[in-house]
């Protein structure tokens, strides 16, 4: 049996799990499903084009800085004013922001996708026990593992991490024990932005162009991943995102050729089945109403 597709599925799963984490973190801290998150990844894509000729470390650092800056700007200008409004108001705000950023990118970079020079060094492939593994997959797996460990350490060991976790449980009570909500929420947007930038680098490393609409599908995957993982739970988000990527790739590999065009339909049918069995998601966080 050819196990090659499992390697690919794990690679895609890892990437999707990162995407989902960035979205879920902000949601769990302030109850905001930030649909403009996909546009952060899109902006990351354009940053990569902008910095393509720079040394790799500058490209990575620059992309992270740009995306984090936009993420913080989002929080400050768009979300802070509606922080105490209803969840619906915040949701609509995030949709509006997503559209705004897309149209802005369309004006700035044109309606046609911008070509991105391939990262040929990442397409180098290794053969391990009969399986072909590209550098890109290895990079994705290593990065995802490092981000997960880093995030876990940050949340467990640092002041801001403990404050973030307290805020995800009860933001009002956290304020009462003297935790500054502004700082904690800004920190969540910094982390979310950093993850979006990393996702952009890993995602666009295999693409040949970046488009103003590049973020749309990403945020949908992350959103569904967060919901099936269990809203408000970081472990659930990572798991939910991973399953989205893994199952999607497996479906594309295993479905008979004539059914492959329906891979999306199969995937989302599975999502519905999961939610029928576990409405709160795979790892339901206490106190979150869905």
């Amino acid at each position: 049996m050819n196990l090659q597709f499992i390697v690919d599925a794990i690679g895609t799963g890892a990437l999707y799990s990162l995407m989902t984490l960035g979205l879920a973190l902000v949601f769990s801290v302030m109850g905001l499903m930030n649909f403009a998150y996909g546009q952060l990844v899109m902006i990351g894509g354009f940053s990569i084009i902008l910095l393509r000729s720079q040394p790799w470390w500058l490209l990575i650092l620059g992309t992270i800085l740009i995306v984090v800056f936009v993420s913080l700007l989002m929080e400050r200008l768009a979300f802070r004013p509606v922080r105490n409004a209803t969840a619906m108001t915040m949701l609509v705000t995030s949709f509006a922001l997503a559209q705004f950023l897309q149209q802005l990118a369309r004006v700035a970079f044109g309606a046609n996708p911008k070509p991105l020079e391939q990262f040929s060094e990442l397409s180098v492939q290794y053969e391990v026990a009969g399986l072909i593994i590209s550098r890109q997959v290895i990079l994705t797996l290593v990065t995802t593992t490092l981000v997960l460990i880093g995030l876990a350490l940050l949340l467990r060991k640092t002041n801001i991490g403990i404050q973030l976790r307290a805020s995800t449980e009860d933001v009002g009570m956290a304020a009462l024990v003297g935790i500054k909500s502004n700082r904690v929420i800004a920190a969540a947007f910094v982390i979310s932005g950093t993850i979006a930038a990393i996702v952009a680098i890993l995602f666009f490393a295999t693409r040949t162009n970046v488009s103003w609409s590049s973020g749309e599908s990403i945020v949908l995957i992350a959103f569904v991943g967060a919901v099936i993982g269990g809203l408000g739970s970081m472990v659930g988000a990572a798991l939910g995102g991973f399953l989205m990527g893994f199952v999607y790739t497996m479906l594309n590999a295993l479905l008979p050729m004539e059914l492959r065009v329906f891979a999306d339909a199969f995937l989302y049918t599975l999502v519905i089945v999961v939610l029928l069995i576990r409405p709160g998601g795979l790892i339901a966080a206490k106190g979150v109403r869905v």
Binding site: A166, E169, D170, G178
Partner: protein, 246 residues
């Protein structure tokens, strides 16, 4: 901060809190001296919880003022009041269930401006003082009510407050736990030198450890004095003990 300007008293002057015409608290003058344990008692509906909430900023004042030393803190937000050094606990504890006991208490220390190792040390000391340091690494969701209550008090203690307001800390505890808690409250006062305001139904705690007692009934102050004075005060016996134990 304490050494720069010691705040020796927390006081209210003619504080009124009305809810839609009902005078829950009516012109109450309360004094909580630093370094002493002051009990706030009264029959159900006397207004002691409302007064407690008004002092800690959780209920807006209809009239009157609250002073922290010489500083007028009337109308301040609970967070700002807590940062000044007036910290309260909650009857339902409200600790974060998904955090460990130590992390919960660390949050209190961070809220008062300590960071990193210092916050952890302050939290450790507070847990030690409350006698629950063996539960440091337990998830708060997994500890018994008495220990949860102690963690809630430890969180307040870790901020090293000038005044500590305890909201029915003995509620739901058994006799042994209640007796132990009384000793702990005295130990906290001795360690921090803070003033303690104690709202409590359990008279063994009130008469056991309070140096001053403030009695309310129907929103008004009916007696203020030492435990001996309160025990023999006719108005208190009439309004409080007479009604509840007749």
């Amino acid at each position: 901060m304490d050494s720069v300007s010691p705040v020796d008293v927390l006081s209210t002057t003619k504080v009124c809190v009305y809810f839609e015409g009902v005078k829950a608290v009516d012109e109450v003058d309360l004094e909580v001296p630093r370094g002493r344990i002051t009990g706030l008692i009264g029959p159900n509906g006397a207004g002691k919880s409302t007064l407690f909430n008004a002092v800690s900023g959780f209920v807006p004042l209809t009239a009157g003022t609250v002073h922290f030393g010489a500083q007028d803190i009337s109308g301040w937000s609970p967070t700002r009041i807590a940062q000044l050094g007036l910290v309260r606990t909650f009857q339902d504890t409200r600790i974060f269930k998904r955090l460990t006991i130590l992390e919960n208490v660390e949050l209190g220390a961070m809220g008062s401006g300590l960071l990193g190792v210092k916050a952890r040390k302050a939290a450790g000391d507070a847990l030690e003082l409350l006698g629950v340091s063996h539960l440091s690494d337990e998830l708060a969701a997994n500890v018994a009510l008495g220990d949860e209550r102690r963690a809630g008090i430890a969180r307040a203690v870790a901020t090293e407050p000038d005044f500590l307001l305890l909201d029915e800390p003995a509620a739901g505890l058994d006799d042994d736990e209640t007796a132990a808690l009384s000793g702990t409250i005295v130990a906290i006062r001795d360690a921090l030198g803070c003033g303690v305001l104690l709202v409590e139904h359990d008279m063994s705690v009130i008469f056991g450890i309070c140096e001053g007692i403030h009695v309310m009934d129907s929103g008004r102050t009916i007696a203020v004095g030492s435990p001996e004075q309160i025990r023999t005060n006719p108005a208190v016996i009439e309004a409080y003990f007479g009604r509840e134990h007749s």
